[in-house]
Symmetry: C2
Subunit: 146 residues, 2 copies
DNA sequence: GCGATTTGGTTGCATACGTGACTATTGATT
DNA sequence: AATCAATAGTCACGTATGCAACCAAATCGC
């Protein structure tokens, strides 16, 4: 009659996400002084190249206020710069500075390493199941069309 | 050289979790006026029967401050009650009231339904992969031992 | 027994977050 | 050209959160 939290999909996912997050957070937070929105904006910027705040938000699945605050923080740090584009003066193109590029490189390696550290504890067949499952869930929830 | 956010496990998980959460939140939040910690404490209580706040926190993967505030809120609502146990006057046994039981029953059905709505969009073999993947990840991150 | 440590639970504070309102600019309708 | 709607981004406000400090009760070490 109950729900059995342990088997409830949203709960399982939330708990795992929290565990993964706790694994990587020390890297961007303690070692680099970033918060999650800032880390994500940086990663999105590296993925996309110079882009608008809206595009960064779409690519990193974040609300525009989070992006706005993250961009301001990263700009104060001189890791990114922005310039308003003359053809549409509402939007601004955001790009990484050399300092930002450098910091991002230093950041990626340990981040990857933490991810690998977890994946290495999973059997190869289970890793395949994981990828398959995530793709299926992404399709089922429509997150990738965003 | 970059990370490709789309393929980075913690990001994929976080994004999916957010989507699942958005699917079920309307049920406990809009329809019942609960927040997530409160919903989880209630579900944990249903799973475990009368228990201490510490046990509820362990079962629902929540920090003790979250549990503390959730318990107070649910108590004010008269959905749960607590009584200090005489053998150890630090801890208190929390249990559901009849009102709480009733509310929880009304809550479970639509919650399940939302979960099913998502799972139904996934092919059976992919659902199997999902369960396998989650179990593997749970083992790899050690979340279930907590 | 008595101080030191641990455990159950609460509180205060500083920060993070989501929502909605707001400004400014552009595009669509007529 | 005037109006209306949509878009880019920021801001303000109330709430949620995590952390550290805290209190009270129980347990350990000797």
């Amino acid at each position: 009659m109950g729900l059995t939290l342990e088997n409830f999909l949203p709960y399982r996912m939330a708990r795992l996400t929290e565990a993964l997050s706790a694994e990587i957070r020390p890297v961007y937070k303690d070692a680099f002084g970033l918060n999650r929105p800032e880390w994500r904006v940086l990663a999105a910027l590296a993925d996309l190249g110079p882009s608008t705040a809206t595009a960064l938000g779409a690519h990193s699945a974040q609300h525009k206020t989070k992006v706005s605050r993250a961009v301001r923080a990263l700009e104060l740090r001189r890791w990114i710069r922005r310039e308003t584009v003359m053809t549409d003066r509402r939007s601004e193109i955001i790009s990484m500075t050399d300092t930002g590029q450098h910091a991002y490189c230093d950041l990626v390696a340990p981040m990857r390493e933490r991810e690998t550290r977890i994946l290495d504890r999973i059997a190869p067949e289970d890793r395949a199941a994981l990828n398959r499952a995530l793709s299926a869930l992404e399709a089922a929830t429509g997150v990738s069309e965003g």
